[in-house]
């Protein structure tokens, strides 16, 4: 099978929370291996899209979804889809770092453990931990604190750990919901650098409120408004020559 160009494609995606329609006919295409940022004012449906792509939204009983979401050419809302596998291939990073109340080491191994049976040899476990932590540029900082509780790390370290724990199960897509909004400017820069580092290996879809962040840290940009996809273009094009008036107004800070 040839590698698909698009990692995520939605087709006429509609979503209702009860009677409120949060997404209206969204057709989006996220290119594989790139960083795409989702921008738009609060309540425009950015986070809802993100949460639909690893099917975490369904946990709320009153959500109804129609349309298709294809991840690497497979409709994840189709039949014979195991949600656990969807979530394995589509990892998610939250606004507030949420490491589990376990040791740093066990946090990294958690995902691996739930997706693999049998006992994990110590040597293999060590390799997994080191590799994942190296990938998120955290290894040198925490290698002496692997058995400490992850909740004692700094917020920046916690957020990096939250990214690291997704990697051992080899996801293809990383969804990030304002991953830097709980961090100070320095930590934000560090995490952005990391995200840029992961580009290519993973397809990254990142929701952000921070226009400057979208501009400096993404390849493509999607602007949403009131549940609709308004514009999707290369980041430099969107910020220099937005094709829609709504986009221009938002980018210039006329609303938001």
């Amino acid at each position: 099978m040839a590698d698909p160009v698009y990692a995520i494609e939605t087709e006429n995606l509609n979503l209702w929370y009860g009677t409120f329609q949060a997404l209206i006919d969204v057709n989006l295409k996220v290119r594989r291996g790139l960083i795409t940022s989702l921008i738009g004012p609060s309540g425009c449906g950015k986070t809802t899209i993100l949460r639909s792509i690893n099917r975490i939204n369904e946990r709320l009983g009153y959500v109804r979804t129609t349309g298709k979401i294809c991840v690497l050419d497979t409709n994840i809302y189709g039949e014979d889809i195991e949600i656990s596998q969807v979530r394995r291939h589509v990892g998610m990073v939250f606004q507030r770092p949420n490491p589990l109340p376990l040791s740093v080491r066990e946090n990294v191994l958690f995902g691996y453990r739930i997706h693999n049976t049998g006992k994990l040899a110590k040597q293999q476990a060590d390799e997994i931990v080191e590799q994942a932590l190296r990938q998120v540029l955290l290894w040198d900082h925490v290698k002496d604190r692997l058995n400490r509780k992850a909740t004692l790390l700094s917020l920046e370290e916690q957020q990096k750990l939250c990214i690291a724990r997704l990697l051992p199960v080899k996801p293809s897509i990383l969804l990030m919901d304002e991953p830097c909004s709980a961090l100070d400017p320095e930590a934000t820069a560090a995490v952005e650098e990391l995200i840029w580092d992961l580009r290519g290996t993973y397809t990254i879809l990142i929701v952000t409120h921070n226009m400057a962040q979208a501009r400096r840290a993404s390849d493509e940009c999607i602007f949403m408004l009131m549940g609709k996809l308004i514009e999707h273009s290369k980041t430099e094009d969107m910020f220099v020559t937005p094709s829609r008036k709504e986009t221009a107004d938002y980018i210039e800070g006329r609303y938001g």
Partner: protein
Amino acid sequence: MTFEATELNIRNKKMEKLFRILFLMMTLLLILPVLIIICLLLAEGHEALSVDFFLTAPQNGMTAGGIFPALVGTLWLVAIALLVSVPLGVAAALYLSEYAPDNWLTRIINLAIVNLAGVPSIVHALFGVGAFVLFFGFGTSILAASFTLAIMTLPVVIVSTRESLQAVPLAFREACWNMGATRWQTIRHVVLPNSISGILTGIILEVSRSVGETAPIMFTGAAFFLPFLPQSVFDQTMALSLHLFVISTQVPGVPEHLPFGVALVLIGIVLLLNSISIAFRMYLRGKKKW
């Protein structure tokens, strides 16, 4: 510019003081009965206490001797009640907290649990007679009495366990689910390890409560007087709480220090268990960080 107190300020200050003292008095008034009870029991009952008191059976028509069979009986009753109510209660709490969708059925179940907690203990006793003694054919026995105690304490276990589970932040669960963990994996690896202290505390409190219960066991398995220890769960047994009731109201010629001594032991067990649970909670809370 003057910052002197006006008349209104002075009046407000007086009222402030008045109410503070009033509420303080009310609070002290609440502690007073507890203090009086404990002091009175210590004063009147201390002479009954001795090693023999704990290790011998009542003698001379229960006017002398100790409480050994009653103490052992209470242990039996509480232990078996725990064996029944803890698995049931924790399982129910796990379902309600971790699996149950928020629909009308769940709400009715929650309502039922709250109401079950409010059922008078004598009603539980009669239910125990009907259900365990007669219908299931346990007879008046430790088993029947323990089951009745278990049913009575079940709502407490469920509510306290559920509260402990709910105290684990939702963010941890979301983190697990997002990695593809099932509900059970989430419970086993994250929710339970972080709520076990609260659950155990609730269970200890439940024990301390069932130690003192009299009504639910008096028709179902606790005996007036048995000089020997129960041999199996189908035997009747003496129990501390019922023994206290019997020697203070039903038996003539009991020396006064004896019921006070029994009451002292009973309240001692309860206070001890409560202190353990508090100490335990403080210890584990000190260790917990998130």
